[in-house]
Symmetry: C5
């Protein structure tokens, strides 16, 4: 999983039925210290929220079939999902 | 999922049967502000349209098995699909 | 999916049984205009041909489980497959 | 699989149910000689521990559905897992 | 699939049960001409051998669920596997 910050949201009316009712959040990848997009990282991506994350929050994001499978309905058009809101990061 | 712009289409007669009748659109990855190809991103890829997207439109693209599974027939030779047309992007 | 050019082939006698009888083609990623390896792209990869592609042809390549599943036998050791030969590319 | 070093841990209370009781470890990718983040690599990611790895240890990490499937419960929101602690590396 | 060279091996006692009895080989990605790590490529990764590959050999490597599925037991913690030893490469 990766660390990201929620920086916005996207509205799409004409979309795959499996995305109906899903919150499409704009995220940007961040380093451990919360600083800007990690080196060599894609700048922004769109993740479906599954835990009630709000804009500005530091979140845990999972990718691929693991992102799809956390939603009960089969065959979701989802390859990126927010699966946790970060409370604390301990770096040793 | 990722943001992309539809910039063309591809014709392939000799292809996997699972691609018959599918619209093969050329897309390029874009940043939130719509500017062209995100840093470090592959320049162009080919995505199967599933929502009636037209050239020039800003779209939502999903990758991997999630792209394959939105089509009813099993075992599609698809790893990238357009799954939404973007109306608005709110950046906070 | 991605655009690639077939630039050679590979012979491997000692290999996974699932690759027996499969044509292992060397491909390099190309831009829309057919020019050299796309920026930041792996230079060459090996894809299993599924449509009779020949050397020098511009092809459509799919990755991951979608590449494996176009072959009827289960559990193929395949993560990259040629799934179409490109006739034309229309860029708008 | 990839080589990584465990450099910390993350706490998330509001998270996918499938992550309950799982240890979320911060890892950074390392070269064979244990030196800093591999060239062109994402700096840090979050992996679920499955072998009792501690901070500072050199570990083996697997990605994607293979990371999800090592846990018995179905549909885990996991795309990265620590699956081994490295004893020795022999380079020839 | 990708071309790689076997450059060593790794020993891990404390590991996922699914890795027991598996040979964990260190590989580095190579270009067609066998020269050093492909541009922009991760330097070294760990692949499970499935064809009896030895150190120094040029091999064919597959990634993701296709790497996991070549082993008979279910739910292997494997995302990278050596699936062929290269005899010859013909470049046109």
């Amino acid at each position: 999983m990766q660390l990201a910050k929620v920086i916005g949201s996207v509205v799409s009316t004409q979309k795959s039925a499996s995305l109906l009712g899903k919150k499409l959040m704009v995220i940007t990848w961040v380093n451990l210290d919360g600083s800007g997009p990690a080196q060599n990282e894609k700048l922004e991506e769109i993740a479906v929220d599954s835990v009630g994350a709000g804009v500005g929050e530091l979140v845990l994001v999972t990718r691929g079939s693991s992102a799809r499978k956390i939603f009960p309905e089969p065959n979701q058009a989802i390859d990126l999902a927010i699966v946790g809101i970060i409370d604390t990061i301990d770096r040793f």
